[in-house]
Amino acid sequence: MPIKARATIPISMSITDLTTTKKPDTALRLKIIAKIGEQKPYNCFQCIRCTSGCPSMKMLELKPHEIVNLARLGFIEELLTSGILWTCATCLKCKERCPQAVAPVDLIFALRNLAVEKEVKVPESFLLSLSAILENGFIQKPQNTVTRKLERVNREKLGLPKFREPDEKFKAAFFKVLEQSQEE
């Protein structure tokens, strides 16, 4: 059963980032905690199991345990602007292996959502897929392709049934969903 995040946070607020002299941002921290719902970042005891199994650690120096720690200390802005959030391959190994049910990947998704909301450092293609869905209902329309012998083919030529896009009513409804989620 889901466990609600604690409302009061037992971490000293006297921390200051020495390079920027910035104080942790409590409001943003609470916002992130609210977004991740059933996960429990405060249970993390920094065993680094997530980071040791992270494929993006080898390639792009993503350290999930550090993200969890920075988030619970309230250094949210720093995380959003660093660009590190977009190095996660979402393989979900951290979520699977965490002995404390912390789920760093869920935290990363929540932080990405916040980055979009605050319009900081979001790779453009992520936003483009959203507009494509608004337009077509899917991330793309059926593409032409070629066989290994370089013969041009499409769904029809391959004998596949006609591709069905959702109707206009969907677009209106989905637009409303997006508007509503922005208001919250």
């Binding site: 977009w86 790779p123 899917f138």
Partner: protein, 298 residues
Amino acid sequence: MKVAVYWGCVIPTIQYGYEMSVRAVMPRLGVELVDLDNVSCCGTPVQSVNMPAAIYLAARNLAIAEKTGLTNLLLPCNGCYLSLSEAKHFLSYDEKLKEKVNTLLKEENLQYEGSIKIWHTLNLLHDLVKEEKIRETVRHPLNGLKLAVHYGCHILRPSTLQTVDAPENPRKMDNLIGWLGAKSMPYPEKLDCCGAMLLLSHPDAAFTFSGLKLKTVQDWGADALVVSCPSCQMMFDMRQKSVGATIGAKLSIPVLYYSQLLGIAMGIETEKLGLHLNRSPVDDLLRKTGLISTAASP
């Protein structure tokens, strides 16, 4: 047995080989596929941008599937499987969220109940169709083939959801391969990620993920890599040349869907399985099966 099928974005817009092979093998196993009308994206591509919108999209597709009155829904794509099972999970305990989603779905006269059971191609074949039926349909046993399997991350984890197989030691695809007469090769990199989800932000890293995995599979001497996810297939098969160039290795390993392999064993024409669309050298594999002595080189 009638099963509703939701193809998602990637399969019906570019990965035609998966759709063709699933459509070709299922009727032979007594599974009648029922296509859904008016469905949209599953939500996976918007998870990073707007999680509530992703849950709405997933719930919407589930609601459409429920409308058919069928009890089983097949999701051949790993991304869709995760997105829909995650939404199902959230909506199963969060009444408030369910109410909110249903209010939004009312716009289109839809309602989410949570009644339909979801399956991926692998567990549908393994647990619903089952061994006996699959063995019965094999016309050309694939004896002597040594194959590496790649499940894809999103059907295995997290175990808080109803996953397709055991997260750390999946066996179902290995069994499925065994039932066709071939041998599944154990290898340490079996659970390594293909990196497809990094394509949008770090394409070089994504290619390196795939390249290193393909290289090891090739070095271990596998006859082919068998996958079950369209995104993984795009990385390992469609982009094999670019992936090899990124890591500086000459890659030449056949990559195909399990459904295509099953079709081969059933004796279905390779063109009906979309095997002419695979970019990797699948002809090498076909020659080894001894089924197509006439197969021309690409």
